[in-house]
Symmetry: C2
Subunit: 347 residues, 2 copies
């Protein structure tokens, strides 16, 4: 931890401690502990209790969570690891976590897997006696098991037999997107997704693929393109896909960032959306409504996922075994990037 050569520490400030309060109230220090943090059942004379509380207030006493953590072996803090903070979707997840965590007096240690490896993050978290960790969209299988062994973990969008977690209905999201396009009359639909083996991406893709297969219009191999789940990725993939004259009349993207990139590619290539091409995204990040036309997408409740995961972790910490929650519902948000295909094709 931050060894670095010869780190001078800032002059230790005299902190108000329980001893100070005790002295001032003329009682023993443990009694102060009892009164201040103690359960309501603690039998303490009303008079002393009042005296202690007064003393504490006057001195501006603040409990030292670190000391509490050391003796209680829990730090009232949780880590949250996300694949990439720069994707607004994950920001929302974190936001949701923070809301409930902060509400319960828990601190949130932020970990961006794009900056530092998950392993290192977990190491750092464990060293800090973290109470638990929420891991978003990172296959638990991909991190060595013993790293997770003595940790309370809750998974988001990465179902596992070993750990509790919450997930969105990713396959449903894919299906919703595909069915929307089918209903509009599209018969030639492409898919842009990452090669990443993330559960949510896999399931979204599966949902799309199956819906199309069920409808008798399976994705042609060439219409399924892989790229990074970023705007650039989406843009590049769309570009190659649309370069051919006989490209699909619609595409669904694994997430909004890719979809936004695809829209950009269209703008550049002079392909009119939705007239010449329909585009559907997934996530429903804020930006989806900022572009014109607004992105049709599948809404995934990011903050809800985060909040729920946090609540679940809190439960685990309280000893209540977290029961597997059923997937959070997603819903189609039809906006401006989808329309019937220009020339109705033969079904």
């Amino acid at each position: 931890m931050a060894q670095g050569p010869e780190r001078k520490r800032t002059p230790p400030r005299p902190r108000v401690t329980m001893r100070d309060v005790a002295r001032r109230a003329g009682v023993s220090q443990p009694l102060v502990s009892l009164v201040i943090a103690g359960s309501p059942t603690a039998r303490v004379a009303e008079a002393t209790r009042a005296r202690i509380l007064a003393a504490a207030r006057e001195l501006g006493y603040r409990p030292n969570v670190v000391a509490q953590a050391l003796v209680q072996r829990r730090s009232y803090s949780m880590g949250v690891i996300v694949p990439d903070l720069r994707n607004p979707f994950f920001t929302d997840v974190v936001s949701g976590v923070e809301r409930v965590a902060a509400g319960q007096g828990y601190a949130v240690l932020l970990c961006d897997a794009a900056e530092v490896t998950v392993e290192r993050h977990l190491d750092a978290l464990r060293a800090r006696q973290i109470d638990g960790v929420i891991i978003d969209a990172i296959g638990a299988a991909s991190v060595s098991a013993d790293l997770l062994a003595d940790l309370n973990v809750v998974l988001i969008d990465a179902p596992s037999a070993a750990f509790p977690g919450v997930a969105s209905d990713a396959a449903g999201a894919g299906r919703l997107a595909a069915e929307h396009l089918l209903k509009l009359g599209h018969r030639r639909i492409g898919y842009l997704g990452p090669a990443s083996d993330t559960w949510a991406f896999r399931m979204r893709e599966r949902g799309v693929v199956q819906a199309l297969r069920d409808a008798g219009v399976p994705i042609r191999p060439d219409d399924l393109r892989r790229a990074a789940p970023t705007p650039d990725g989406g843009r590049g993939a769309a570009k190659t896909l649309l370069a051919r004259p006989d490209h699909p009349t619609a595409i669904v993207c694994a997430n909004d960032l890719m979809a936004l990139g695809a829209l950009k590619a269209c703008a550049i290539a002079g392909i009119a959306v939705p007239a010449d091409l329909s585009v559907v995204g997934c996530d429903d990040i804020e930006t989806a409504r900022l572009v014109t036309p607004e992105l049709t997408t599948v809404h995934v409740p990011a903050r809800g996922l985060g909040a729920r995961a946090a609540r679940m972790l809190l439960q685990v910490l309280e000893g209540t075994p977290a029961r597997a929650a059923k997937p959070l519902e997603v819903r189609l948000a039809v906006r401006g990037t989808t329309a019937p295909p220009r020339l109705p094709e033969a079904g």
Copy 2:
């Protein structure tokens, strides 16, 4: 902190401690401390040292940062408070902080002022013996002084005599935006900004106002509209501003989110950008390049601000007095939302 009724704690896991290592190596526990965390200058017999290290490795020893924090009175963690995580600009700032913090073994406690008040965040942070805190774009003046008193704080975009900090050249950003429009030939320029008294917003506005005044085309009172620094805010403000037939030929917005909202308003009102109206934003968030036409904006190095603030805080913690860094440069990113006014007006 997290009092809640009767919280059962999870069964304390047997952790490998220095004592264990000491026992195994047949030495005293403090010696282990010396060897493991000790400075390279610690004079310890090579043999014992090796024995201890071996024992530690075999047992899988991990230092307990909480214990360290208690005795050293520093927790190797820092808080970062941002006004609103949902603004990608702040996400980037946090990202920058995290990168350098994590690199130095520091944990980042995330605090979203949109979720919980700054006061509560600071309380929670202090209770955790945080080593320092980075506060972004929140007037230090707006939080009661004694809350900050015994804290190491570094401010971002909120210059203060009392605390070190980093800032972007906010006035320069405003000027750049205005001058760009002037150079294009605009003589009727409006401004959309928040009523918030945030330093950066104030300075950006000042930069715009002065540049226009200097050019002899001051903003008309009606062309200066206030709204929340969000897409909705920008959208609403733009809508009213553009409702009048004789509206400005160009507007600059306090940040990209507002600008994006303004673009949306234009799209809805059927105002062609940049033909009928030029729009300039500020921040250069990723979304700026995702809309079509791409948003002309002033690039502000968000991650740079975060990284620099973190480095500065680290310095403060080491005892090196942080000297005031000069403002980080901003630069104009000319893209698609600006063009000469349709009808050249009389200068």
